[in-house]
Point group: D2
Chain length 260, copies 4
């Protein structure tokens, strides 16, 4: 899946809102100019994983490759920061293509929201009342009632994010899988989740939604008081992230699995 | 620790606010009368574990034994419901004495709250920003920075409640221990918590509290925007729960450990 | 990957060595005859998963489809036992194609053994001395020293067998992955294993092999006192298992993930 | 439980059989002499945890305090090695008193073995056939059939040894508990074990012992082909280990719980 990029000349820079990133932006603009995104061959994002996710969300349909340079505290999706040789690094970079998830959430008033998630779609109780959820895969109920804090569906790229905190498995970037992982399951208390084929269509229904309100989030965008949430891979959306050779997402995720 | 009760004659009944419990209350009052708590030898609570916790909270200092009968969906702390022979059952019941936790929480404005928790004291992030917590035991920092959804301290009696959902160990009722259990730990990502002597004094400090606001709860009572939380066993408070012989908390917790 | 079979007329029966299977064999032979394997369109195996594994091992290169009928205690790979309509069931059956693992194990005398594993290749300490293992993937050392009882590499088909007992993840049958799972890891004590691309070449070297002898097993075939073990998918071997529609390995593994 | 020792003058030295320990022995003998154990106030053991266990086993009934100094690779029970000021260190040392387990194992020929275990009593399958075990506590069957590699019962002192590798909880040294922990449980596949009161009497019976032979071990002493194993705390045996102040077993076990 990683593939060699061609020469990328016109760069659009974006930066997160911290001093370190702002300074980097000024210096890089001075050196390489700053093209409008509509005319750019690539976007260079200066910040952390939060900025990378934000930038990917803004350009879901643009098929423009994004190269991150780390100016923040967590940089799992970012390359090392350096000011010189940027065009050479872009020319040598490998591209990882990932597909996000599409979430369709419906609330008790039959209002519906569609959103895209790059890391994960998660459901979480809104109050101290535990959530009760019914989980179906491809039209078949697989878990009649999960009493829990919540549940999430993660992509391979997102498997090292919130999914990892809730003890879900890390997935290689090329795994054709989604991770369905419970968050603090109370009953069935030892259910650890499931690995599903990437083509799976997952439906999560909220039981006793009035007494036990639940919010759904696509990455960080939250939609409250949901009664049903459908999740599927948005296979028609290609997100292009660029990495220095030998430091691609595949390598990062592989080595993350051997950390302890 | 379990001990035989004497003849208890004057009963104060309390009931949770569902039809099933209300009906039971009416029938039992007709049969046994309903003494004011101040004059009662024992309280009989009709409902589920929620009501039992509530009743214990209301009578923290009263040293009055409480006998629950199950009229709700979860009844881990409740005896089987029966209308007849109540005085005989009370006479034969064994008493489990448990000690709650005392929590002292301080917020960013130096306001301080003291509260008692029977099951657990928990801290949880208020926003999508992960919490960062520093954990000390008996004045010594044991974990410099835990990035997580939260953390909890559970009593043995509470070890089968929220602590169990977050993969904490079940503690026998007589274990002289507290369970310190992380909730969705991100870094150190494999830290599973610790079992501490019951005399331990636990301090949890919130790092970057403005960016990463955290709420503290003593059972269900929540206190928002805390910056430090101290937890210790309130060994001076004796809570007395009564159980039919062979169905005491010790037996319940033991058999819970062999469920799967 | 599952695909429809053509009409299969000539059946070779095999049975495990228990009365129940022997009786079934006699009755089915009387009804359908019993072709030599070399002339058969399919093999019907009467027993449990042990017999299925044995039969697959005997016909690794034969590309002959095998249909199991359950006459034993564990039958994860077996269809329901029925005597009638066998040819119709075979005609309607779907075929799952799975690839085994190839293991090359070398002992301290430079003797080398090649073996095929359908479920898993495992290494395990031979004495009470913990094993110390170095793990490399695709020529790169990923774990310098794992102190443990052992380690295993499981296929998706084998992920519900020994891998499951040692807390490894269940893999969908079409997952293009192998599970590398530690057995009772002592140091790094919280390492949970890794999911690797199916093309990964895994090398496990035994440290202090004389003091800490280790045996390697391909399924149940054991080779003692190994010093190095290489594992890779034998992608050139296609094993064909037949299942009644709606009860294929994909469905079995999926529903196993929702058991608790 | 830790308590101050009196002045200990006559020292008996023991050393493990490695060069480093032998050299240390010679130097310390030259400096402090070497009393026969029968006349000694304390034993000083030069080696690792293995030697400490061995020395404790040799002096189960002697109530003689043992002070370990680390001359080996793992030294959880050992103090730092120094040659000078030994008598002062002994005078200031705190004593941890621990109780071992007593195991009574019976084989298929009704032969019976009693043995003492300081860390753990474990049962483990002898062949590739999984073990099937029935587990009772205080005369009541708690788990009808555990299919597994094995099971163990650990003391608090042993909870950081093999128990930790098989994902059992670490117990504070003063916890009045035993850990009953499964080893690679296959069915019930998510059973994680139980914490039992120290007075619990545990009976493990081997099911289908001929087909599925099982060995029982008290620390490293193995007894093969067992059909039943009883385990209980040997509360009449006091083992005395000495530690430098601030580095006692209680502190060691507590800080081990905050490692990750």
């Amino acid at each position: 899946m990683p593939r060699k990029s061609k020469r990328l000349e016109r760069i659009a820079f974006v930066a997160s809102d911290v001093a370190e990133a702002r300074t980097a932006l000024a210096r890089l603009e001075a050196r390489y100019g700053n093209a409008p995104v509509s005319e750019a061959d690539a976007i260079v994002a200066l910040g952390g994983d939060g900025l990378m996710l934000q930038t990917l969300h803004r350009h879901l349909k643009d098929r423009i490759p994004i190269y991150g340079m780390n100016r923040g505290s967590v940089g799992f999706m970012m390359n090392e920061y350096r000011e010189k040789d940027l065009l050479d690094r872009l020319a040598r970079a490998v591209v990882s293509v990932v597909h996000p998830l599409s979430m369709t959430a419906t609330n008790g008033k039959s209002q519906s929201l569609e959103a895209i998630a790059i890391n994960e779609v998660s459901l979480f109780r809104e109050t101290t009342q535990a959530a009760k959820l019914r989980i179906s895969v491809d039209g078949k109920v697989r878990l009649e009632e999960l009493t829990c804090d919540g549940v999430l569906v993660a992509t391979p790229a997102g498997s090292t994010a919130y999914n990892l905190s809730v003890y879900g498995p890390i997935l290689p970037i090329d795994a054709q899988l989604l991770a369905l992982t419970p968050i603090s399951a109370f009953r069935p208390r030892r259910w650890r989740g499931a690995l599903l084929p990437r083509a799976a269509r997952i439906l999560i229904e909220v039981i006793e939604a009035e007494k036990r309100p639940v919010a759904a989030s696509a990455d960080n965008a939250e939609f409250r008081d949901v009664v049903r949430v459908e999740v599927a891979e948005a296979s028609e959306i290609d997100l292009l992230m660029m990495f220095d050779p030998g430091h691609g997402l595949d390598e990062r995720i592989l080595s993350e699995q051997f950390r302890y």
